[in-house]
Symmetry: C2
Subunit: 249 residues, 2 copies
């Protein structure tokens, strides 16, 4: 049986303040926990229903067996899926200037606020082989269980860095910064380079004026209808796909 202390510790990780205080986060469900175990993230604890079979030869820690009722208390889901793990948030060991971004495509998110969008964008990076995704310091916490869930394991393979984007762009001033606007150049014809930052803005307010001044190229996704905008993750997918398509030509 779980102690009160274990229960309250795990539950505290539902909240950002405690995730930051302890440097730990929750990973929930069969598929995600297995993706975690296959990654280089450190795993501190695993809670699973009796009878659940883990498909991994070496376990990083003993498994604590829990009842369905206990798992429900630990989980952020209404119907939790058999297993839950606690992983350690990676320290940002590399300083920005150490990061080798040359010849690479990067995504930078300015004040991104929706967990589902953050997860979808990390999946886009993983799909298209983009190693680094940068988040401004006021963006949503990617260790939020909703982001972890929406990223479908991709966050264990993509390097996600919280940083001041102005400093990042200033340090890598040779890398062009692409921003998407209604009046930008048609992305299909824009002659896109292999190395660049794709800068994404906030869901409601777009790219902030301070960061807009770092943009070296304004591009647009051609509109054929009357929508004012696309969902930010959808736009990120279209732009990234177009960079990759042109890179294959």
């Amino acid at each position: 049986m779980l102690s009160k202390q274990q229960l309250s510790f795990v539950k505290s990780l539902h909240i950002k303040k405690f995730r930051q205080m302890y440097g730990k986060f929750l990973v929930e469900g069969d598929k995600l926990v297995h993706e975690l175990l296959a990654s280089d993230y450190k795993v501190d604890a695993i809670y699973a229903l009796a009878g659940f079979k883990i498909r991994s030869n070496k376990l990083p820690c003993p498994i604590v067996l829990v009842t369905e009722e206990e798992l429900k208390k630990l989980s952020t889901h209404e119907n939790p899926n058999q297993i839950l793990a606690i992983a350690e948030i990676k320290p940002t060991s590399q300083t920005l200037s150490d990061l080798d971004l040359s010849a690479s495509l990067c995504i930078a998110c300015d004040n991104l606020s929706d967990p589902g969008n953050a997860g979808a964008i990390i999946r886009i990076a993983d799909w298209f082989g983009i190693q680094n995704v940068f988040f401004s310091l006021n963006s949503v916490d990617i260790y939020n269980p909703k982001v972890v869930s929406a990223a479908k394991g991709s966050m264990f393979r993509v390097n996600c860095v919280y940083t001041d984007l102005q400093t990042l762009f200033a340090m890598h001033s040779k890398m062009p910064v692409f921003g998407t606007f209604m009046d930008g150049e048609n992305v299909y014809h824009a002659n896109l380079p292999k190395a660049a930052f794709i800068l994404l803005g906030n869901e409601a307010n777009g790219i902030s004026p301070t960061l807009a001044s770092y943009i070296s190229k304004r591009i647009s996704i051609p509109a054929f209808g009357k929508a004012e905008s696309l969902n930010v993750a959808v736009a990120a997918g279209i732009i990234t796909s177009e960079f990759k398509r042109q890179g294959l030509l």
Copy 2:
């Protein structure tokens, strides 16, 4: 002051069963209500805070003034934005065989379950000038307030139809059906037609086997990394964008 009856009627529309029973749905917030008023949807009631200014010359109904506290009770949002309207769900007057789909691109969603994805897909349709989006009968209710919110007004401009997709494909058997799979033909080189169905699957399970048998062309978005899949709305955006880009060549 709102009567108990008014309050309980509006609140009932938070729930699918009652939206279907009354044939009405909620539209919340300044921007969306103005998009609604500019559309051909019939508006039954408007509730607004005293002092809120509606930017529309002819109103379809009188405005009921409410207090902030009352608006909070009516709304599905924690912090409702000044105004809320009740609109009528359009009857599906056109039978499927009457719909003229020739020379047009259509999106068909098979058992789509996430409200945010449904909204993002309706925005994609509106952005790329796609008139018709079909939803299988087991897909999420697009009159769900979360879908209405995520669609950002695009649902007032795009024709959204719930129908049996097998019947739809059988009736329009000359239109090719495109499905996205890991082993499909690279979409960048696939030679896409101007008229087609883009079939999207369920978030967890993809396209159902019954519908997969209607697919005439299997395509893929080239993967450069290790993600197993993309978010379905992101994939829809990339595929639709590629259809449109090739259509411009």
